[in-house]
């Protein structure tokens, strides 16, 4: 039935919208911290895409229940990949913020157009 069909793809459409919001923020905004926030939204959208891959209708989280035999489980592999990707995202964010702090100290501003004029 149509609605259920549409909902099946709602996750991927929200992934596309979030990706665009993040990508727009990274490109269009001049403030360096706003760019980093946009970058983290951009990466969160990718995590959403991976995790919405692993859901199985009627399945539960892939921690095997001791007693139950015919229990359907969701796919563990995208979750492992995203566990790694989340920590990669935080690491890049921390490094980016350290660079922004140093730029503020040396240039006095964190607006990209003012930095370009300064040199």
């Amino acid at each position: 039935m149509k609605l259920f069909e549409f909902l099946g793809y709602y996750n991927y459409w929200v992934f596309a919208i979030l990706l665009m919001i993040g990508f727009y923020a990274v490109i269009a905004k001049a403030n360096l911290i706003k760019k980093l926030i946009g970058l983290s939204i951009f990466q969160s959208a990718v995590f959403l895409m991976y995790i919405s891959m692993d859901k199985v209708e009627g399945g539960t989280a892939p921690i095997i229940k001791p007693g139950v035999v015919d229990q359907l489980y969701s796919n563990p592999l995208p979750q492992v990949l995203i566990l790694t990707a989340i920590v990669v995202g935080v690491s890049t964010l921390a490094l980016g913020l350290a660079i922004v702090v140093r730029i503020k100290e040396r240039y006095g501003t964190i607006e990209e157009n003012e930095i370009l004029d300064a040199d």
Binding site: F4, Y9, I33, I37, I41, G59, I64
Partner: protein
């Protein structure tokens, strides 16, 4: 039922993202980012990803918000409006959006069991974890043993971020590393949060250790535990002030934690090589392969937990120390 959750949570996610990008006050954006990560974590939980939800909770609510705020404290909080780059941005963004929307048509529907993803590699993990690893949490098994090499790379990404932040923020030309700690002693006249904080911090650390060693049987593991314990110490330093926190966990101890965490992970792998197996092949550590794998995974997760905790703490203290003497212009 998941459909109702999906609609509510995902629409809220989009609204928050738009609000984050629109608001010109950076403080507001950071606060909305913490709501964004809360929503992401709930989304992950609804989509059956318990471990990922716990990681997003521990990392998103605790560490990302605090690092953003400490960076904001050192830079400006008001974004200057800038109309220049909008045209190209919209074109590029529109192009990528059309590419992705074009791709979504042939994708399998959310949750349909015969999607190719569930046919090939995943069933092996689900069937064999119980008898090869002896514990039910398949995600921890895949994370630390089947794809342990990824996690090793991951620990070294955290290690790289930690030495990167220390390297970039320590650029004091001439003078040695003088860590003038913050003159402010935490939330000065907030007695009640301090008292509650003193009660809460040990419980958060206890919960962190529970998550660390309970990783095989329920959602948990090294990353989550490291992040939670780091959040506990960050809360302690927020309430008691920088000096007390640095007395509790001095800077050298934080770096030591990161280094021996990373080395512990590496050395277990090398030990497996010496004892005849491949790198990170725990089954050679002892005669019974299942217990050998469990021992290997516990040591690995401990290494990961120490590395992540040490890294997040040293990053936080690098930012916090920075604000104390950002007055003198580092030349």
């Amino acid at each position: 039922m998941t459909i109702v959750f999906a609609i509510f949570l995902l629409t809220m996610l989009v609204i928050t993202a738009v609000a984050i990008v629109q608001s010109s006050n950076l403080f507001v954006s950071v606060m909305l980012t913490s709501i964004f990560s809360l929503l992401m974590s709930t989304n992950f939980f609804v989509l059956d990803a318990a471990d990922v939800a716990l990681t997003e909770a521990a990392v998103g609510a605790g560490i990302t918000t605090v690092i953003f705020l400490s960076a904001l404290a050192l830079t400006a909080t008001q974004e200057k409006p800038n109309r220049s780059g909008r045209g190209i941005a919209l074109i590029v963004v529109g192009l990528t959006a059309s590419l992705i929307i074009y791709a979504t048509f042939d994708k399998p529907r959310l949750g349909d069991p015969d999607a190719p993803v569930h046919q090939h590699v995943a069933p092996y993990y689900l069937d064999n974890t119980m008898e090869q690893m002896g514990f039910p949490n398949v995600v921890t098994a895949v994370l630390s043993s089947y794809r342990g090499y990824d996690t090793l790379g991951e620990v070294f990404v955290v290690f790289a971020a930690c030495i990167g932040v220390l390297f970039i923020l320590d650029a004091r030309t001439g003078t040695g590393p003088k860590y003038v700690t913050r003159k402010m002693t935490g939330l000065r006249h907030h007695l009640i949060p301090q008292v509650v904080g003193r009660i809460l911090v040990p419980f958060i650390v206890l919960f962190g250790l529970y998550v660390q060693f309970h990783g095989e049987y329920g959602p948990g593991g090294g990353f989550q535990a490291g992040a939670i314990i780091a959040t506990a110490f960050i809360l302690y330093s927020l309430l008691e002030g920088e000096q007390a926190a640095l007395r509790a966990v001095p800077r050298s101890a934080q770096l030591g934690l990161v280094i021996c965490g990373a080395l512990m992970f590496g050395m277990v792998g090398v030990l497996c090589m010496i004892m005849g197996g491949e790198f990170l092949d725990y089954s050679v550590l002892m005669e019974n392969p299942v217990t050998a794998r469990q021992i290997g995974i516990i040591v690995i997760e401990a290494g990961v937990g120490m590395a992540v905790c040490g890294a997040m703490l040293s990053i936080f203290h690098a930012f916090a120390a920075r604000s104390a003497e950002d007055t003198d212009e580092a030349v």
